[in-house]
Symmetry: C2
Subunit: 139 residues, 2 copies
Amino acid sequence: MALDDDTHRGPGVSLLTGLDMSHITLCPAIAFNKIVGGRYKLHILCVLHRGPLRFGEIGRSLVKGGLGKPITPRILSRELKDMTELGLLDRKEYPVVPKKVEYSLAPRGKALLPILSEIVRWGATGVHEEMLEVPQSRH
Amino acid sequence: MALDDDTHRGPGVSLLTGLDMSHITLCPAIAFNKIVGGRYKLHILCVLHRGPLRFGEIGRSLVKGGLGKPITPRILSRELKDMTELGLLDRKEYPVVPKKVEYSLAPRGKALLPILSEIVRWGATGVHEEMLEVPQSRH
DNA sequence: ATCGTTTTTGTCCGTATTTACGAAAACGTA
DNA sequence: TACGTTTTCGTAAATACGGACAAAAACGAT
């Protein structure tokens, strides 16, 4: 695997963490991308990190700190469904009118919080804002 | 900002890290996505984490641990260029024949290593492989 | 019966990203 | 001269992704 194909510290030991990775097949970085890649998933984990929110609240929370316009209900619904099916979120529906649905972090979602913490720690230095001042070109 | 819009611990203090974020405008999670989003960037940082590699070596390294086929030279070239322009990588060209170009982590790239470490730590539990056993559907 | 609220979904469409293919530069070697 | 190696780039095709819009469910309130 990309992270531990080193010959310096024995087979399957990650240089980054010192952990044994010999039982792992897929590079965690790739998996991370597949799981929380896309435009909104990581941000959704963010806004849920300290408690359940309902559909509309999540949508509104995503605007703050996000660059630009709000997420479409269509997309939000799709993202939440994907994440719930992956086990990242718990979905609780209340039998009231109008309908009320609350989303919260499931264990698999909470397992990502240490990563999020490091991202915030990285962001606290302000590098990310420097890097995005001049948006990068493509092609 | 999404990560510190809480009223429990004073303005601008992240619950996740306890750090003061009052000077930060853009949510680090969003920035992280913009900077190392996409299919290969995070993985490229991975394979470079313990030393410089040249173009072809990176391409071959990406196959190990990646699910599927190798990256095309066209894309690798573009990714490396993007990342170099962002200051994530250093590019060193040797005046030999055939051409030899080595890429290594620049300071801004190294700044992301703690995040990568947490991702590896998360991956060491094997959750990511469980989650991707049945690939998620779209639409 | 009609309206209003909240959440979810179907369908179509445009853009962004990835891929395939080919060509170029730059020089040693056969 | 023709060839091989490594890296980069132009272009067009394919695919993935996000966005717009309308509609549905569910039921209390008017």
